[in-house]
């Protein structure tokens, strides 16, 4: 079986070092470039980040079992990627706009999306689930990389608003960061190969779009190892487009938070785009339809299990004197959250086809109305038949 790191003859060397602040034993190191961006992070902040990661881990496990029990059409586990998501989320100003891929559950939670709404998507009851504008968090996008040019276009619009002097009051809830706004788009190592990823980076560079490309490299695109997607770390690609790329240990919450804060600061100053590659690992399956034992080794999985971002942050918190009480309480609350999710999924109301007819177009459309009328007539035929049978 291939590993994620198969070598290529003749390959060139990358130039970027990987940033790590919290090492695998939970010891906090120092990095003069990025330390200033996490100076303000308190122990309480870290405990809160841990609690979120644990809650979403529990949510994720619950969703996996709901799928196994036939209550969800599909589930996309985020297990193992919580530090990359929570660390970055906590460094992105609330007014900035986020375009996720489809595995960003911890990010969605951080953005205030009700994960019960998200479950409607995976239950097969709603195509979206939440209003993207309410949370400044776009819907999940299931065609890989399709959301990247949307994010770049949105960022071009944020910049254009300032140039043309329009839309400020409509879009800006507060004047944080001098009234400037930016966009962050998440995608993975697999999506990085899509043409749209490339075109997006060209457009972003050409228009100086205020956008952060945040790649979670989880090493596997379903069954295809990272070495098939790229010879070099993806952050190295940024140099080819003429903007900064940063590699960070994606299982290190503080490292991710630091480099993201640095990047957002730079982008808000008008010096973007920036690309961050958070090197992490998908501990679960690609989706519940997948069987990772067919393509990756047990040794590799075991190795990454020891690098679990939750374990690392727990080690750090314990080194900082956080005791059992906190962890027990966090565990208890995460369990309760999982139970709430289960309850919500089982109580969901099924959608109607009328609800789909409603939104094919924004404006009235003669074809949709004709087909809707026919559908109603057809349905009414069954009702009449039932009434007649009942009357017999």
């Amino acid at each position: 079986m291939e590993t994620a790191e198969t070598p290529h003859p003749g390959a060139t060397e990358g130039r970027l070092n990987r940033v790590t602040i919290l090492d695998e034993n939970g010891h906090r190191g120092s990095d003069p470039d990025f330390d200033p961006y996490i100076e303000h992070v308190t122990l309480d902040d870290l405990k809160s980040s841990y609690a979120t990661m644990l809650t979403v881990r529990r949510f994720d496990d619950e969703a996996t079992s709901l799928q196994r029990q036939g209550k969800l059409a599909l589930w996309v586990p985020s297990k193992g990627q919580e530090a990359a998501q929570v660390g970055s989320a906590r460094a992105i100003p609330k007014n900035d706009y986020i375009f996720p891929s489809y595995r960003e559950h911890a990010l969605a939670y951080e953005r205030g999306v009700d994960l019960r709404d998200m479950m409607r998507v995976f239950r097969g009851y709603a195509p979206g689930g939440w209003d993207p504008r309410e949370h400044r968090f776009n819907l999940y996008s299931f065609v890989l990389a399709s959301q990247i040019p949307h994010a770049v276009g949105y960022a071009m619009g944020q910049k254009l608003d300032r140039q043309l002097g329009i839309g400020q009051e409509e879009h800006s809830d507060d004047a944080e960061a001098g009234g400037s706004e930016a966009t962050v788009v998440y995608f993975g190592d697999g999506a990085s190969t899509e043409g749209e990823a490339h075109e997006s980076m060209v457009f972003a560079a050409s228009y100086d779009a205020p956008v952060l490309f945040f790649v979670q490299n989880n090493k596997w695109a379903i069954s295809v190892p990272f070495s098939t997607q790229s010879r070099l770390p993806l952050a190295e690609r940024a140099a080819g487009y003429g903007f900064e790329g940063i590699r960070v240990d994606g299982n290190d919450l503080l490292g991710v938070q630091a480099v993201t804060a640095y990047a957002m600061d730079k982008i808000h100053r008008g010096e973007g785009p920036v690309l961050i590659e958070a090197e992490t690992y998908r501990l679960g399956a690609h989706t519940t339809a997948d069987d990772p034992t067919k393509y990756r080794t047990r040794d590799e999985e075991d190795e990454w299990t020891t690098k679990d971002p939750l374990v690392r942050l727990e080690k750090h918190l314990r080194l900082e004197g956080v005791g059992d009480d906190f962890f027990e309480e966090a565990n208890q609350r995460a369990k309760e959250y999982g139970a709430e999710i289960r309850e919500a999924v089982l109580a969901m109301e099924a959608p109607t086809l009328d609800g789909v007819f409603d939104h094919v177009y924004a404006e009235e459309n003669s074809l949709v109305e004709e087909e809707r009328a026919w559908f109603h007539e057809y349905e009414a035929g069954f009702e009449d038949a039932e009434t007649q049978e009942g009357g017999r």
């Binding site: 065609v143 040019p149 770049v152 074809l367």
Partner: protein, 335 residues
């Protein structure tokens, strides 16, 4: 949808279709700062067909963007700009170059309104110079309308004259739904009177452009003038052909065609796109369902063959011509 131009009265002016399209974009941009133009070579050069000539000078490079060469990037970023509140009008340089953006158009642009259950509207127009008879090389003469018409969430339209080019593009830009706007490139220099002050009637409706009694001939875009010429030729032989300009390809105005067919009893549909799986087949099917007993003959189609658009040296044999339309009219009348 916002109101289409109800501005001060302007004189009727004769201009080619390309200029009418230019005027529509210019007027829309003048009225609404959210309207942006994007595309390859549309700014400094004014577009390879000069349809956007002068607009960069008039409205600046921020609103008339000479984009990098990437159709998926153009449509993809237009979607993001529309999410931000803009109304982008994208130009795809030629029909055969639209396919790199096919994913963005069919999987994203068309579906995001439904996916967000109405929370996000995408008022994006994709202008595509389309169709053949210009003696060009491969990928420069195609008619991809059926591919887009088959995708729910998109409106598809094609004007056949300068006035419709103006009013339909204004309507497309004002629409809160994405519109595939197919410009018949062989008609860009066809002149006609254009009244820029009119409040447009909905161009989702087909228009009877020639009244007749014996056969209904339905066409759109580049073939409407050919259909009118076929009608003229038929009149010399004593036949009265009603010509319907469909204008909107999705949705199709079945009501207008049905009303005409109930009168004539016969229908011939023509388009440059291949006959198989085309708009003509859809129209034939619906009209047959709706007014089977009014039909004196099967609905006949005059379209392209099931082949890649051929080299320019034989395109005359491929394209629906006056003679091929007359042949179908004769066959219809022979039933």
């Amino acid at each position: 949808m916002s109101d289409v131009s109800q501005n001060i009265a302007m004189p009727v002016e004769s201009m080619p279709m390309a200029k009418a399209l230019n005027a529509a974009m210019s007027d829309a941009m003048g009225e609404d700062k959210a309207v942006l133009l994007m595309g390859e070579d549309i700014g400094t050069l004014g577009g390879v067909f000069r349809v956007t000539q002068g607009l960069k000078e008039e409205y600046g490079p921020e609103r008339v963007m000479d984009t990098p060469l990437g159709e998926a990037g153009i449509v993809g970023t237009a979607i993001g700009l529309a999410m931000r509140g803009y109304r982008p009008v994208c130009e795809i340089q030629f029909d055969g170059f639209v396919f790199p953006s096919f994913n963005q158009i069919t999987s994203q642009l068309a579906k995001i309104h439904a996916r967000t259950q109405g929370d996000v509207k995408l008022p994006v127009v994709i202008r595509i110079p389309y169709g053949g008879n210009i003696g060009s090389i491969e990928h420069h003469s195609e008619s991809p309308e059926a591919l887009f018409a088959h995708t729910a969430g998109l409106r598809v339209m094609s004007p056949s004259n300068a006035q419709d080019a103006y009013t339909m593009l204004r309507e497309a830009i004002a629409s809160d739904d994405p519109v595939i706007f197919l410009e018949p490139k062989r008609r860009y220099w066809l002149k006609g009177d254009v009244d820029r002050s009119v409040s447009a009637p909905s161009t989702q409706r087909a228009q009877i452009v020639r009244e007749g009694r014996d056969v209904t001939l339905a066409a759109y875009g580049p073939l409407v003038p050919v259909a009118l010429a076929a009608s003229d030729a038929a009149r010399e032989d004593g036949m009265s052909i009603e010509v319907v300009d469909l204008r909107s390809i999705s949705p199709l105005d079945f009501d207008a065609v049905e009303a005409s067919v109930r009168k004539t009893g016969r229908l011939v549909v023509t388009h440059e796109a291949p006959t198989f799986g085309g708009i003509g087949g859809e129209l034939a099917s619906v009209i047959t369902e709706r007014c089977f007993y009014s039909l004196e003959a099967p609905v006949l189609r005059v379209g392209g063959y099931h082949m890649p658009y051929p080299v320019a040296g034989v395109e005359e044999d491929y394209l629906p011509s006056i003679d091929r339309m007359l042949e179908a009219i004769d066959r219809s009348l022979a039933y």
